[in-house]
Symmetry: C2
Subunit: 335 residues, 2 copies
DNA sequence: CTGTTAGCGCATTCAT
DNA sequence: ATGAATGCGCTAACAG
């Protein structure tokens, strides 16, 4: 039963029609007589015909493949995005090819080019940098791009964002509402839009409450696990530092919590956090009173639909900017 | 500057050679005179030539794409595998397309077929089930498959596994060494090989130490977060249950810990776990004295190399079964 | 070493 | 409503 590859030519012969007709059946072209269509379908069935998507792509120059480029596959935020994107894309007959920029703008540019050469129909980009160095390259590709999480400023394109300012504001207000007065900011670099917006929300909440923002306890940095750990170490060793902190993202939060759990000593008992990002294990993060939950699943789905619409020319011509609301989660503080 | 697509034909004309020569340059065929090659390269450069991989694929029927199929993209284990696979694949000029079986064997079969139709050169499969229902289908595809985490029994193929028995044994021994005498087993369904092997390791450790395995405290189930949560609830409500547990995987572990943290009450203080899987946030899992770390990065890399070798016909003809050793991590128990 | 030629499997004019 | 013919961009014999 050696199965040679069956082509539309074989099907055509078997059905006594031309390849054009077979192709029409394949593409649900209405101008095929019902009867003929049945014959073709039967021929396909009996021959075990499988469409060759590569050949089709060569003709149509569309691959039904979306590329997604993220700083890191293993980051929780990203994988939930990918998960929900993938679900939606599958529904619409698209595949997802993944690629990572490994936290390097150079790599990001390289991978984008590579994706484009692979002839993906569109790219979903979770950018690593804030630079716009390679923007011209990107736009020269003439391929739809959707930005998720943050956009490169000055670049016109579809975007899926969250209300960073509002989410941070809400969280800090909640802390203040519980009587916290001195609240520090542990966060990302201010040149990154997400961090900047979250910082703005923090500031607004503090100012509205008439609380002082102590510059000494506004700590910027690349918000990774080690950053959170080291910074929290410094904070704990400073007896005058606040007990309450707003933390800009999950990684810094994990790092800070790790330090407190392992080395925090007595004082850790009095620490309280509010932080961006909610994960299945967030209830286990011991000092986290409030978490700002991003609607990650919806965001992934939205990104998928934006890129599909763009590809299929369905959307409005102007860039779509979707900004999702966050949700504040309160955790019981079990000490 | 309207850029029409530049083909090898254009390059050939510009360089005054045939398309065959251009193609040879493209494929690093040694039988091209150095000088000629330079001319071709220059022509490519000046025309802004980009190889069309789809056309190449149509010819070679190889796409340089690997499909990976996992139960769930958002599981940490999987993402780390994908991350390291992707790294290795990129190095070798392959792309990674991801797909999920959503914990359904039916879906798994469907996605595999779909991947195959997409003409991926190989598939890395983290199987969801233990059934071999669709094995014939899979093998009929004549496409290399590498199994990761566990294999479908009776199916000849490359596999990347860990020493589940040994890892569990080591962990339980460590607990016993610290004086624990009554140790329960919280784990996956015994028909799944990984769970079975881990259970075997648990049993061996207990038996060698002359300790009784209390059937009442061997709890099998689909090891998810809710399962861990609910089962731990039952356990805590049973005053006679052991304080010490071996937990079969991360999800059950997270669930059990969640219950203890939020509802565990006084008794939670006395609970001790050893569990499979180590994550960046594992130190935060409050009751986890020992974690069995799988060398996930190496496993992903190994899977990538196995599938590449298979595709490129480099490996030995017989199936390769790689079984990695685990590493026991001790955590300080901070209460 | 290089050129000629013939498809890979499909979609798509342009006829009829 | 259907067929014949053409070519998407590239690789791979086969010649020379």
């Amino acid at each position: 039963m050696a199965r040679e590859t069956v082509t539309i030519r074989n099907v055509a012969q078997r059905a006594n029609v031309s390849t054009a007709t077979v192709s029409r059946v394949l593409n649900n072209d209405p101008r095929v007589r019902y009867e003929t269509k049945q014959v073709v379908l039967e021929a396909m069935e009996s021959l075990g015909y499988k469409l060759n998507v590569v050949a089709r792509s060569l003709k149509t120059s569309r691959t039904h493949t979306i590329g997604v480029l993220a700083p890191d596959l293993a980051g929780d935020f990203f994988m939930f995005i990918a998960e929900s994107m993938n679900r939606e894309l599958t529904l619409h007959g698209y595949s997802l090819v993944v690629s990572t920029s490994r936290d390097s703008e150079e790599e990001e540019a390289k991978r984008i080019r590579h994706l484009a050469e692979r002839l993906v129909d569109g790219i979903v980009l979770i950018p690593v940098g804030s630079s716009s160095a390679y923007l011209s390259q990107v736009s020269a590709l003439h391929i739809p791009i959707v930005f998720v999480d943050r956009a490169l400023e000055g670049f016109e394109s579809d975007q899926v964002l969250v209300d960073n300012e509002g989410g941070a504001y809400e969280a800090v207000c909640a802390l203040i509402g519980e009587g916290h007065r001195r609240i520090g900011f542990l966060g990302g670099k201010p040149e990154v839009t997400t961090a900047k917006e979250r910082f703005a929300g923090y500031c607004r909440a503090m100012e509205e409450a008439g609380l002082e923002i102590e510059q000494k306890y506004v700590r910027f940095g690349h918000p990774t696990l080690p950053f959170g750990y080291r910074t929290m170490e410094e904070i704990i060793k400073d007896p005058d530092s606040p007990d309450t902190w707003f933390i800009v993202n999950l990684f810094a939060h994990l790092g800070a919590t790790s330090y407190l759990v392992t080395e925090g000593g007595e004082r850790a008992q009095h620490i309280t956090f509010a932080a961006f990002d909610e994960m299945p294990y967030s209830p286990l993060l011991r000092y986290c009173r409030y978490a700002v939950q991003q609607p990650i699943a919806e965001m992934g789905k939205a990104a998928a639909n934006l890129i599909i619409d763009r590809i299929e020319g369905k959307g409005p011509p102007e860039p779509q900017i979707l900004r999702f609301r966050t949700r504040l989660i309160q955790h019981p503080l079990v000490r």
